[in-house]
């Protein structure tokens, strides 16, 4: 329910905003319209201001010279836009993705102790740097033995 408006406040409203309810503060508009409809004095005040509003509404907009308008329209041709780099998703998303991938890769590289391949897939085991064994000794003989056996078989076949 709206709070009734005093005639004094109505007078102040209409003195400032005239007889154009759309300009009246929204919070007071309904109460002001109700008072205008209910009070002959308020209605008189409203009508008194309406003539000035009509004349104000008839004031033409000033002409803007064609030369000035052209200068305004040419602003984009003369001045580059100042874009915030973070406002351009097409640029920062790939950059951030690459940076993230690089950091992740470095982090994993420095923090991982052992990298193992699946022994079932060729049977080769690679020992890590701090496993206690020199890297040259890290490779097990499994793969080398298989290769040697194959080589010997091939020589046997040739001899035959």
């Amino acid at each position: 329910m709206k709070t009734p408006l005093s005639l004094e406040r109505f007078r102040a409203l209409i003195a400032a905003y005239g007889a154009r309810p759309e300009l009246w503060p929204e919070a007071e508009r309904a109460a002001a319209l109700a008072l205008r409809d209910a009070s002959a004095e308020a209605r008189g005040l409203f009508e008194e201001e309406a003539a000035l509003d009509a004349t104000l509404g008839a004031l033409p907009e000033p002409d803007v010279s064609p030369g000035f308008l052209r200068r305004l329209n040419e602003v984009p041709l003369r001045a580059p836009q100042k874009r915030r780099w973070f406002a351009l998703p097409g640029m920062w998303i790939p950059a951030v993705s690459w940076a993230f991938a690089a950091v992740l890769g470095l982090g994993l590289g420095f923090s991982t102790d052992v990298l193992e391949t699946d022994e079932a897939d060729g049977g080769t085991t690679v020992a890590a740097v701090d496993s206690g064994a020199p890297s040259s000794e890290a490779a097990t003989a499994t793969g080398e033995e298989d290769f040697s056996a194959l080589a010997l078989d091939a020589l046997d076949e040739l001899e035959e």
């Binding site: 300009l23 503060p25 329209n73 406002a87």
Partner: protein, 193 residues
């Protein structure tokens, strides 16, 4: 205390244009020039009382629109935002000239008068333009913002950097002065007849 609400901060047509300008859309920029060049020129001229400087300020306003459109937050209407930029640029120029806009209290209270009703509309318009030009700056600025450019009292207060009550006071005194001028013209015509 009276509360004064603004227009809802919805994404209106102007705001959509500004968002497009932020993406580098020149056509959207030119549409905003078409909509606001005359209004901002009148506003700047009212503040500066100098056509050339007013044009410079309006051009700077549109340069800021072009370059800073991506900063626009649709909390305020575009019209309020643009008028605010123009106002700030004009005030900077006035300061550079060693002038400032007078505070509302420093302005003279115009004489109140009854509303004229006899002048035909065309002559009333001419008389009103002269009366508006003769108003103290702050009153004229408030009248232009609210009665010619359709800003709310709260929006005009935001542009001018004052409270809503101060704007209502400026508007009331400005309107009284305009009515007084028009009334004087009616009386003068009556005397001459």
């Amino acid at each position: 205390m009276v509360s004064h609400s603004q227009h809802p901060a919805e994404i209106d047509d102007d705001a959509l244009l500004v968002l497009r300008v932020g993406e580098g859309d020149v056509a959207a920029y030119r549409e905003l020039v078409k909509r606001y060049a005359a209004k901002l020129s009148r506003f700047a001229e009212r503040l500066l009382r100098d056509g050339t400087e007013a044009e410079d300020v309006v051009q700077e306003t549109f340069l800021k629109l072009w370059q800073r459109a991506s900063d626009y937050q649709p909390k305020a209407r575009v019209t309020t935002w643009l008028h605010r930029i123009t106002h700030n640029l004009a005030v900077d120029r006035l300061r550079a000239r060693g002038r400032t806009l007078p505070l509302p209290e420093e302005e003279e209270m115009p004489v109140s008068a009854r509303q004229p009703t006899l002048l035909d509309e065309k002559r009333r318009v001419v008389a009103l333009e002269a009366a508006l030009a003769a108003l103290p700056e702050r009153q004229a600025t408030a009248i232009v913002l609210v009665h010619l450019h359709d800003l709310t009292g709260a929006e005009a207060a935001e542009v001018l950097g004052v409270g809503v009550e101060a704007v209502e006071s400026l508007l009331a005194r400005g309107r009284r002065a305009l009515k007084s001028e028009l009334s004087s013209l009616v009386k003068a015509e009556g005397g001459a007849a």
